[in-house]
């Protein structure tokens, strides 16, 4: 086999920082290579060097056995290297075919106009060749994130990429979409393409890659065969010490209900009922988990609880008060912390520095504001303490939120919300995009809060997370809580079926839900098996 890509002794210095320190990376043709490392390990920098976005301080980039100097991504594309960024670069109102051919459209009439027919045909041919299931005429804004990602891959292939670099491709996908993506990887490598993907998830690297290179602090820690390694070994390479992959056993003692959701229905912007008469409660000192495929109403349910959206019907009670009509600010002040699903849209003001972001939500309450005046000194102290406790990097309270990587943004949001001293914590995907060292820390802190008597409502699409942390686990499907189960006794297969809206054979939802107070939670529509999903 020959090497498709060889990065030889790449060093990339930024003023005052060495992001990559003499990194070697060799990728064989027709293989999947995972680049594994924590947030800030230098993975993306290295790939940006390969893609021509950065010029290496020293070192050689060899593609196809030829040494190259890329001045821009255009050069990299010409050399057959395509990159799919974490945030897609697609034009929402345009169709799939238009997006794929954008910038390289086939022309007719002497280049005067775009040959739409040919563009469409080429896209169909391309997607058939690689077994992609995409509708060339669908608009980007109408298709799911998984399909958008495939469009990005097709775009790179259309431009003639032989080496595909994907930056955290699974961060935005549902578990099913992740599986599909890995099948796409297989298809591509079968046809001789080479794939390098960045991840910080051990499981994915082991599952999808042939070889894994681990980066830590900008250095290559080692390259291993995916088949010849273990999760523990990889974790140790990434973090540089032993990591507890399993969360500690739970020892929660549930108290009174802090949150009582009664028969809540929510409609989305289009007027479709996406949450349909959901009831449950969360007790002080327990973690109530909601599992489910994204887009089954979890987001809207959480918004109704936290005051971002008005429910169509039903009541929300918080600490014995009916808060259904309360404003968002009143709920924050009453002790409701909320780690939102989308940190860049909601959780952070991207243009503000961390000092400004640290007070988001408490900008009207002491100690950060007195009599309507902000106390920026107190705010700065607060931001600094979050940064220190949650190891946010760069440790600079004056850095703008947008200058942080996704994982560090998430750590900061989580830190701010956990520090609110809440009675109820609503956390949606709290560890999304966060490296394992910090994930471990966030989970521990969440369990600490629970032990301190905070009620935690945890929504996550990571099964091991909800299963491992929850005291009670509800499964949401198509706007409904289809079952509440005991996370210890339920199997992954059973959960998978429930998430798809089917009941496993011999499954008794009522009996499975044990501690602490199963009676409160009804399992509605029992027996009704629905396989279709409204989708996203």
């Amino acid at each position: 086999m020959s090497r498709a890509v060889h990065l030889d002794g790449i060093t990339k210095r930024f003023p005052g920082v060495v992001a990559n320190d003499d990194v070697d990376l060799a990728v064989e043709r027709g293989t999947v290579h995972a680049l594994l490392g924590e947030n800030g390990a230098g993975k993306t920098t290295l790939m940006n060097v390969l893609y021509g976005l950065y010029e290496p301080t020293s070192g050689r980039v060899v593609v196809d056995g030829e040494e190259r100097e890329f001045d821009s991504p255009r050069d990299a594309i010409d050399a057959g290297v395509g990159m799919i960024h974490q945030h897609f670069m697609l034009v929402d109102p345009m169709t799939v075919a238009e997006n794929i051919t954008l910038g390289n459209e086939p022309r007719k009439w002497g280049g005067l106009t775009v040959d739409r027919e040919r563009a469409r045909r080429e896209v169909v041919d391309l997607s058939e060749r690689y077994g992609f299931d995409v509708d060339p005429d669908a608009r980007i804004e109408d298709v799911s994130v998984g399909v958008q990602q495939r469009v990005e891959i097709l775009k790179a292939l259309y431009r003639g990429a032989d080496v595909l670099v994907l930056d955290e491709p699974t961060a935005v996908l549902t578990p099913q979409e992740v599986e599909d993506l890995f099948e796409v990887f297989d298809e591509l490598t079968d046809q001789g393409k080479t794939i390098v993907f960045i991840t910080h998830k051990l499981g994915e690297a082991m599952h999808a890659a042939d070889e894994i290179t681990v980066l830590r602090d900008g250095k290559n820690v080692g390259t291993v065969e995916a088949d010849g390694t273990t999760r523990e070994e990889l974790a140790r390479m990434m973090v540089g010490r032993e990591v507890l992959l399993e969360v500690e056993a739970r020892a929660g003692e549930a108290g009174d209900p802090v949150l009582d959701v009664a028969d809540v229905s929510v409609r989305d912007e289009r007027g479709v009922t996406v949450v349909d008469g959901v009831s449950f409660d969360v007790h002080a000192g327990e973690v109530f988990g909601i599992a489910g495929v994204d887009g089954n109403g979890q987001a809207e349910l959480v918004e109704a609880i936290t005051g971002m959206r008005r429910p169509e019907s039903g009541r929300v009670r918080f600490e014995d008060e009916d808060v259904t009509d309360w404003s968002r600010r009143r709920r924050i002040d009453a002790g409701m912390a909320y780690v939102p699903e989308d940190r860049q849209e909601r959780g952070l003001v991207m243009a503000f520095d961390l000092v400004g972001n640290g007070v988001l939500g408490s900008q009207h309450t002491p100690p950060y504001a007195r009599g309507g005046r902000m106390d920026w000194a107190a705010a700065r102290e607060h931001a600094e303490s979050i940064i220190e406790e949650y190891d946010v990097r760069p440790p600079d309270p004056d850095a703008a939120a947008r200058a942080l990587s996704g994982g560090n943004q998430q750590k900061f949001v989580v830190g701010r919300e956990f520090a609110r001293d809440p009675a109820l914590l609503v956390a949606t995907h709290p560890t999304r995009g966060v490296d394992i060292g910090s994930t471990e820390f966030i989970r521990e802190r969440m369990l600490d809060l629970r032990s301190a008597g905070v009620g935690v409502l945890l929504v996550s699409s990571k099964l091991e997370e909800v299963q491992g942390l929850s005291d009670r686990l509800a499964v949401m499907h198509d706007g409904d809580l289809v079952a509440v189960v005991d996370p210890d006794s339920v199997t992954e297969e059973e959960l998978g079926l429930l998430m798809a809206g089917e009941y496993p054979e011999g499954f008794d939802p009522g009996a499975a839900a044990e501690p602490p107070d199963p009676g409160d939670v009804e399992s509605r529509r029992a027996g009704e098996a629905r396989t279709d999903g409204e989708g996203r």
Partner: protein, 486 residues
Amino acid sequence: MSGDGEDDRDDGDDRDDGVPIQPGGTGGEDSVLDRARAALDRLARASATERFLLSVAALVLSIVVGTVLVLAAGRATTCETAAFVLTHPTPFGLPRLFSMGFCFDPVAVFDRLFFGALGDPIKQGWGPLTPVRGGPLNPFRQGYELLNPQMAVTLRETTILVFSGLAVAIAFRAGIFNIGTQGQLVLGALGTGLSVLWAAPFAPAGIVGTVLLVTLGLAVGAVVGGIYGAIPGALKAYAEANEVITTIMLNFVATGVAFFLVANYVRNPDSQAVETTPVPDGALIPPLLFEPRDDFSFVALGLGVALVLGVYYMLERTAFGYDVRTSGLQPDAAEYGGVDAERTVVYSMALSGAIGGIGGAIYVLMILGKFQTGVPSYGFDGITVSILAGNNPLGVGFAAFLFGILKSGSTVVQFATDVPPQLVGVLRGLIILFVAMPEFFRLLARGIGPTADPEARAVAADGGEVDDGDAGGRSDGSGTGGGSDE
């Protein structure tokens, strides 16, 4: 798609995934020149300084382009004697080979435009090289008074523009495109005129009466403008009406209503113009240091400066200001942070309208002494002023002064030269055009500058996301492992 709504605006130069960022390729040699350039570059990066330097560069470039225009126009016109002759020196009795006459003298035009607006502070014939050639070091003209009538005109325009610019800036910072400052200003002016006329007979004579009447006038102007601003605010917040449309339309309503009321009910019968009777002299803002006929008062300018500082403080140091800025930058995050979006829209529009209304009040109480229909387009100029200032209250002060100089200088140019007023308008427009495109000069600076900070460019190239091995990440050099250190 990209989940970063706001930062698209800033890093807007990278929509395609492949916008090439030219790696500046200067090698390692660390010459003095390089270091000086780097220092200049850092200086240029500091936002306030940068803004200032960019404005100076813009001014210089616009003067260069303007000079060409003036010369071209001067060639195209016919005149008795050339105002400006382009030729070469003829030492040692060399023959004159080349000489070209122009009807307009660009030096005179720009001299009048800028120094004329300040009342001619510089000595006749004094240039930057004069002291070198043995001339006097002191550039100021003998007998120059800072507080001259032309300066009063400049400051008068500046004052009103400070208010209208500030009004626009507040709304823009809250993410609301308030195009209606003109209407708010007109109605504020009308309200002030009418209320002062009504109250004047009851006011005591002397300074006490003046204070009472002026305060009343300003308050009424603020209230009327504030209410008139709150209307489109409420329409936006509760009826989802696009504020651009509503405020533009409400401008017509305001002008029309003012004309109708004045023409039909309170018109001064002794005047040809559609205007109210003049308010008594005792109700005018006292001129302070200037002559009453100068129509300018430091009291009003002082109030403007105080408001500039106040609005800055409000935005940066108060919880309400935090709400306003958050709503303007990222409405979703504001909502998440407990900001009542509707209320913030209405409040900031009311505040914007109130400041515009005060501008109108000062127009009546300082300049006109009555309300007259056909108020100059201060409100629309306020939009330019605010954008010029990057919607920063402190910048509004400077931008308004630049605008004031240009407005006042234009009249001087028309008096002093034969340049047609339209051409002066073109020059004014050019200057503002160049000042308003800082990005152009940034590009220019990048092109000729040293290897700029690669990190800053990389951010722009990376979809606004410095992921992973982010540069600042380990700037303290500690380089600790990824794990937390519990």
